[in-house]
Amino acid sequence: MNIVIRKDQWINLAIIASALWFIWFASTHFDKYTVRILNNIAIFTILAVSYNLINGVTGQFSLEPNGFVAIGAYVTALLLLDGDAKEYQYDIEDPYPWVLGLQANFVWALFFAGTFSALLALTLSFPVFRVRGDYLAIVTLGFGFIIRILAINNPEITNGSLGLNDIPEFSNLYWTGGVAILAVIGILNVVNSKYGRAMKAVRDDEDAAIAMGVNTFKIKTFAFCTSAFLEGVGGGLLAALLTSISPDLFTFFFTFQLLIIIVLGGLGSTTGAIIGTVLVIGGAEWMRFLDEPMNFGLFETPAMPGMRMVVFSIILIFVMLFAREGIMGKRELTDLFKRKGKK
């Protein structure tokens, strides 16, 4: 038993070390386009593993990421932009004085972004988890929507639909990749603890979990808030990567993309969420050919803009109908090693 754990730890350390090496190598050797895609992958990894915690591990279907990512992005942007830059940008209404005064360094900005998201998640969890599960989906969907409405209708804070521009570009692969590694470790640590077990128990059979003395409300709230925290941080990283944010960035499509990622990777598997991110975010670039005219030799199909989205939704339905477990099922990478080791 002990030996297995030790072996796991070695594997984990090796994975972390190679990830760090890769980040260094990519930052120094790859071209800008590849680095940008890697940045996107890193940020979406953070979002996917945390989204997977509530949806996959805890089995509570939520559609919130766009909302919390938006919160995180705005909090970070407001904290990173200095007073003058804000003064110059606000075009629709004059900003509130306190908005101009907001200021923090990148680390604190990310921390506040996460905390603010988590607090909102906590408030939402009270109405939502009072009833069972599936209302979460619609409430969070509505929440994401309301966040956008708030961003649009409070130009004194958010500059309305113009959004915030010229955000200092702090995010680079060291930041996004580093936070992604920390997020994955953190999430895996939760999953491999009594809390993670309780989350899975809630997913498998909520009544049985209650009968084991699990406070399911608390467990669901923990999962929801953790996921919101990391989504907020991810949003902050995104804002500092794009250097410009506006409400139309955080539409439901954002959430939909994450949903495909975790479903494809295997709901409940953190490794799966990472694999899904690489496939979908990397693959979305690759799948651009779907929008272009296709030459089948004998005949040519016309360009069909938007075909990608159709294909995406078919993939989602297909995975759910015929390959419900996705790529990884509920297993983790370390499980694969374990199985080999055992035999």
Partner: protein, 255 residues
């Protein structure tokens, strides 16, 4: 006296599922709750565990009123249960299933688990050891890393009871533990329950259809019919009771 129900009534809309039931279960007793289908036995369990709130009446556990408490709080006070149709956590191993029972007994916080504080390792080691002991007791230690739902029916039943015992209960509620078992398994189960009572210092309240099983195991039985108590006493006497026999006639026929 460990459990006491006083005039408990439960109504669903217009239907009375349990009607003014009063009984007490003494410490270390094995107490049977029997009656035909739809008699309100499982409803009774759900009231004791807090899943349902009694419309009228009181539920007392070690003289403490349980009415209004959340189900998970009641578990922590020392009442554990199993389900009529086995409800194991299907994506988890046998070990993990039992560890869920230790959930509230492991003393580390959420942040301690994220940052892997020393206490996390200590506590995990402690509960894993105890979980292993319980599995050992039930003779299923070798399956610790097997997915719980891959086991045979009889073994799954054991895992479920082991899981319930992991919550360290004083009162164990078993909902038809022998259902679906063959006679040999049933016999083994009866022995196991009896020895567990001694080794874990347990009181057992069980729902059962198999009268033979009840007869050889229970110290006392309560017979319910459409929410009403029609008999309370020794199991041997129950079979002789006219009302009980009448209520059961249909049920025995198709069992």
């Amino acid at each position: 006296m460990i459990l006491e129900l006083k005039g408990v009534t439960k109504k669903f809309g217009g239907v009375t599922a349990i009607n003014d039931t009063t009984f007490t279960v003494n410490s270390k007793e094995i107490y049977g709750l029997i009656g035909p289908n739809g008699a309100g036995k499982t409803t009774m369990f759900n009231i004791i565990t807090g899943n349902y709130q009694a419309t009228e009446g009181e539920v007392l556990f070690r003289s403490e009123k349980l009415n209004g408490l959340k189900p998970h709080t009641i578990v922590r006070k020392g009442i554990a249960r199993t389900f009529q149709n086995i409800r194991l956590f299907k994506t988890m191993t046998v070990m993990e299933n039992v560890l869920i029972g230790f959930d509230f007994q492991a003393n580390y916080t959420y942040l301690e688990s994220i940052f892997r504080f020393p206490r996390f390792f200590g506590e995990e080691k402690r509960i894993r050891k105890r979980a292993m002991e319980i599995l050992d007791y039930f003779g299923i230690a070798e399956f610790a890393d097997t997915k719980a739902t891959d086991l045979s029916y009889g073994q799954q039943r054991k895992v479920e009871i082991a899981r319930a015992l992991a919550t360290n209960p004083a009162l164990l509620l078993l909902d038809e533990p022998a259902a679906g078992m063959n006679p040999a398994e049933t016999k083994e189960l009866a022995t196991l329950i009896r020895s567990a009572r001694e080794d874990f210092d347990l009181t057992v309240l069980l729902i059962e259809h198999d009268m033979k099983f009840v007869n050889q195991l229970c110290d006392k039985v309560l017979v319910l019919d459409y929410g009403k108590t029609i008999f309370e006493g020794k199991p041997a006497d129950a079979i002789q009771d006219k009302e009980v026999v009448a209520a059961y006639l249909g049920d025995f026929a198709h069992d």
